[in-house]
């Protein structure tokens, strides 16, 4: 491949690529969504900008649907000369991003509706989703770097969407600086991978790295982990997370915690096994240690939070740890990847439910403090139910989706001979009980504070909340389809 091509060769490559476009339809759907949103934002009059949101949400859902169709109809394939992997992991990510992104658009509606950049918001969100999906599909160093760039910078802007808010500005600048520095560190590591291989293809990297000198492998891998780890909010690259979530629009925080994070984790799940096959440099153990640190630190820091958004931010850090358990088991257990995939789905729906409720409460009570949740049960029993379900699912209680997710990762961990990690996870789960209960219990047990007054109802928000809460329950009680899907997830 690395020969200088001739026209004939190039032509042949192009023909192949045209054939492969079918597999790229899910990504294409997101591209169309993003570009279409830009066009719509330009074309539509100011009163109709809301249509962009509808379009973006529809596009996301379409991408998810198409991903499902491709999975069922076409199977898995490495396309675009091996730079893009269309396999279980990436299609799964595409579905999560599609559904999650659509939900986030719905969640954002109360905030951005009628503001001056409503159209751009949708377009950037679609671009971020595009970046996320490609990040999780990339099997090429260059594509990895640029997709990390796109998904990051789109979310930098989204985080700073509330331009008049000092908190929003602070959040986006911190996020931006942390993100770009991490990205730059990653590119340095990637440049070494290239040096070892002579190709930017991760498959080629994977052929070369096991034989490369340990020092280079270790140094470069550590640097690569910085970029991906920051995206996934792993300890010690998590520092931006609570601050960014806290300052960003709540819907964007939801988006960061689900779409961005899962894309980063999916990238780790793809890059490490691909570039370091056969557990080169023992990365499984290193990831396991990172998993333990991440969940522990996330849970401990969440204990003292009074601000629900920061609480959910730390919770999502901790959840990254559990997700990493699946990744740490990929090389040693057949259930590793599928457990990661299922956990990702369960986490996405539960976390989105929680954010949906927090947004609804914020609209009504003008606060995201824990105290704002007091007595929610009387005023809004269904919100409370959704919040409780999501908290218990994040905690991992049966029969909710989160339980089967934990079951899967624990199983993978023990199967992979990392029982100690499972024990750490158990201890962490117990710690997490305290703040998950703090999140949902006052809503049920306390007497309420008066509501400031009637607030406009947002059907999209409610629909998203209901859908995600239902998915949280069904993902547990009727886990079979999703588990089947997760079991079938493969890395090419």
């Amino acid at each position: 491949m690395d020969n200088v091509g001739t026209y004939a060769q190039a032509k042949a490559v192009e023909d192949t690529m045209l054939h492969e476009l079918v597999w790229l339809v899910p990504i294409g759907a997101l591209v169309v969504t993003a570009l279409g949103a830009v066009l719509l934002a330009i074309v539509l009059p100011r009163g109709r900008q809301g249509a962009v949101g509808v379009f973006v949400a529809t596009g996301h859902l379409a991408a998810a649907a198409v991903a499902g169709v491709v999975w069922a109809d076409r199977g898995f394939k490495a396309v675009m000369s091996g730079t893009v992997m269309v396999d279980g992991l990436s299609l799964m990510l595409c579905m999560i991003v599609g559904v999650g992104g659509a939900a986030c658009v719905a969640l954002a509606h109360p905030t951005v509706s009628g503001t001056d950049r409503e159209g751009e918001f949708g377009a950037l969100l679609a671009a971020a989703s595009l970046g996320a999906v490609v990040l999780g599909s990339a099997a090429d160093i260059g594509l990895l770097a640029i997709s990390l760039g796109l998904s990051s910078l789109a979310t930098f802007v989204l985080t700073g969407y509330l331009r008049d808010s000092p908190r929003g500005n602070e959040a986006s600048i911190k996020y931006y600086l942390f993100g770009t520095v991490s990205g730059a560190a990653m590119t340095y590591g990637l440049s070494w991978w290239f040096g070892v291989t002579g190709s930017t293809s991760l498959a080629a990297v994977g052929r070369a790295l096991p034989d490369a000198p340990t020092g280079v492998v270790v140094g470069s891998t550590a640097l690569v982990l910085v970029g991906l780890g920051y995206k996934a909010a792993l300890v010690p690259f998590h520092f931006w997370t609570p601050d960014a979530y806290d300052g960003a629009p709540l819907s964007v925080a939801a988006y960061l915690s689900v779409v961005s994070k899962l894309a980063g984790l999916a990238a780790i799940a793809r890059v490490l096994p691909l570039a370091l096959p056969g557990d080169t440099a023992g990365w499984s153990t290193a990831i396991a240690v990172l998993a333990a640190l991440t969940m522990t630190l996330g849970n401990l820091a969440a204990l003292g939070q009074r601000n629900t958004v920061r609480l959910l931010a730390y919770s999502s850090i901790a959840q990254s740890g559990y997700l990493l358990m699946g990744i740490a088991a990929i090389e040693r257990s057949p259930g590793g990847l599928s457990s990661f995939a299922f956990y990702a789905m369960a986490y996405a729906v539960a976390n989105l439910t929680a954010f949906a409720v927090i947004i609804a409460v914020q609209r009504e009570r003008r606060s995201v403090d824990l105290d704002a949740l007091r007595g929610l049960g009387r005023a809004h029993p269904w919100w409370t139910a959704a919040l409780t379900l999501s908290a218990l699912s994040l905690l991992g209680l049966p029969p909710l989706a989160g339980f089967f997710a934990k079951l899967e990762v624990f199983r993978a961990s023990i199967d992979a001979g990392q029982s100690w990690l499972a024990v750490v996870a158990v201890v962490n789960t117990v710690i997490s009980l305290v703040f998950y209960l703090r999140l949902c219990a006052p809503a049920i047990l306390d007497r309420g504070t008066p509501t400031p007054g009637p607030v406009r109802r947002h059907r999209g928000l409610r629909a998203a909340m209901a859908t995600m809460a239902a998915a949280t329950v069904l993902g547990g009680l009727a886990a079979e389809p999703l588990l089947g899907l997760a079991e079938a997830a493969r890395i090419l």
Partner: protein, 493 residues
């Protein structure tokens, strides 16, 4: 007809329907709860009739659930499970009669009660480990809210403590389940197969760790000293019905699991650690009763006697697991343990119910403030006395045959432990007599002179319990015929 599934699903259906009930208060929730409990009870009774004591696990019902993981809706009964299910439906019937929270029960209380009922039955009937675990944890959530919503002043703290401890207990169980699954060939969560063909035939490190995981989990649930501190807090703060169900049914989950999993599936490591577990049981029994003696809060006192009585059960199960025990000693130990689970369920439920009724009338649970209550409350007093005597193991009442068999079985292999455990009998007697003496005897203070005695509804709640434990005490084979170990304990040892 899939009786077992109906027994489990009827309350769960009721729980699912309860939020949609048209009224918040009124009779409808109560009617729903009563109807669903009645259906469950009818199914259990029918199962009892169809049950063949000569066989082990039977009447298995199986349906696909999550075939990817080999998880199925798999229910079945053996004698122990059937006895505990019968106990469960009886106690829930009593709970429905007594109610939770404001009277008549609201729909939230009804829903939680039914959720608890369905999941408890599912736990005892589950023959699939995932279902088993799901049921285990759902009971936890339901009980948490029962305590946190309708408990006493410090209910939130107690409920959290309960939740935390039990979660700490349940998660090692989950790890153990996964380990068993991974170690079975082919991988399965099917408890029947795992019991028939134990995954760990040796007592190596891995088997020991798995054993320990289950042991810790069930020890916290049972609870065994030193994992028991959640129990008094939870009991004191729980509403009466919560205490009844907690002591009557939920504690049994721990010992049930100990028998079902540790004894049946991990007999090799259990044999290795039987002595240690028996000592734990002994320490629990003595510790529980000594601490109970020091209590002045009635509910706290009863809670600690639960530690004592459940300690006996653990001791017996450990003895049954020991390698040196004779077949008859083993039969005695297990029979005693199972009978003690049922008997303690009935007796302690009755005690908590009566303590709750007492509190309703006197507005205190402090023994130092209660006195001379037999005068105004003769019927209640007599019932309390009978329950106390039952709890301290007087013959003719249910706990005597249970504890006697426990001691006999344990003495067969651990004579010193059994002998020391006998000391608990004397202390338990002392503490219950003290209750009767200080609360019911002596001159009646004026403030208690005109308390109302039991009314019809309260009697309807209390009498079935008393009748049941008297019947078992007079003729223990009412239970033993079905639940006797010879009938179901297969594969172990």
């Amino acid at each position: 007809m899939p009786l077992l599934s109906i027994a489990v699903l009827a309350p769960l259906l009721g729980a699912a329907l309860s939020p949609f009930l048209p009224v918040r208060e009124g009779r409808t929730p109560l009617a729903l709860a009563a109807a669903m409990t009645a259906i469950s009870a009818a199914c259990i009774v029918a199962t009892w009739v169809r049950f063949d004591p000569g066989q082990g696990m039977q009447l298995v019902e199986e349906a696909r659930w999550i075939p990817t993981l080999d998880v199925a809706w798999r229910l079945g009964v053996d004698g122990m499970a059937l006895a505990l299910c019968a106990l469960t439906v009886l106690l829930f019937a009593v709970s429905v009669v007594h109610g939770v929270g404001p009277r008549p029960m609201g729909r939230a209380a009804c829903g939680l009660l039914l959720l608890l009922e369905g999941s408890t039955l599912a736990f005892f009937l589950a023959e699939d480990f995932i279902l088993f675990y799901v049921a285990f944890d759902v009971t936890l959530v339901a009980m948490y809210f029962l305590i946190a919503l309708w408990g006493e002043e410090e209910r939130r703290y107690a409920a959290l403590k309960f939740f935390l401890y039990t979660l700490i207990g349940s998660l090692p169980v989950l790890l153990g389940i996964i380990a068993l699954y991974l170690h079975s060939e082919p991988h399965t969560f099917d408890m029947i197969r795992l019991a028939a063909d134990p995954a760990y035939q040796d007592a190596g490190t891995a088997a020991s760790l798995v054993f320990l995981a289950f042991l810790v989990g069930f020890a916290i649930k049972t609870p065994i000293v030193p994992f028991h501190t959640w129990l008094p807090a939870a009991h004191v703060q729980a509403p009466t019905t919560g205490s009844i169900l907690l002591a009557g049914v939920l504690l049994k989950m721990g010992t049930y699991g100990l028998v079902r999993v540790n004894l049946q599936m991990l007999s090799a490591p259990f044999a290795k650690y039987a002595l240690a577990v028996a000592i734990l049981g002994l320490v629990s029994a003595l510790w529980g009763t000594l601490i109970a003696l020091a209590q002045t809060d009635l509910k706290r006192l009863i809670a600690y006697t639960s530690v004592n009585h459940m300690g006996y059960v653990v001791m017996a199960v450990a003895a049954a697991a020991a390698s040196g025990i004779s077949p008859r000693g083993r039969e005695l130990a297990i029979d005693g343990a199972v009978l003690q689970m049922v008997a303690h369920g009935l007796v302690t439920a009755a005690l908590f119910l009566l303590a709750g009724l007492l509190k309703q009338r006197t507005h205190t649970r402090d023994l130092r403030e209660l006195a001379g209550l037999l005068g105004p409350l003769p019927r209640l007093g007599v019932l309390v006395a009978i329950a106390c005597f039952a709890s301290l193991g007087i013959p003719g009442l249910a706990q005597f045959p249970a504890e006697l068999q426990i001691f006999l079985g344990t003495f067969d292999v651990f004579p010193v432990i059994a002998g020391l455990a006998l000391l608990g009998l004397a202390v338990t007697a002392a503490l219950f007599l003290r209750v009767l003496q200080s609360a019911f005897m002596g001159p009646t203070p004026d403030r208690f002179a005109f308390l109302p005695d039991l009314d019809g509804r309260e009697a309807l709640a209390a009498l079935p319990l008393v009748a049941a434990f008297v019947a078992i005490g007079v003729y223990p084979r009412v239970i033993l015929d079905v639940a006797g170990s010879a009938a179901w304990l297969v594969g172990a040892g």
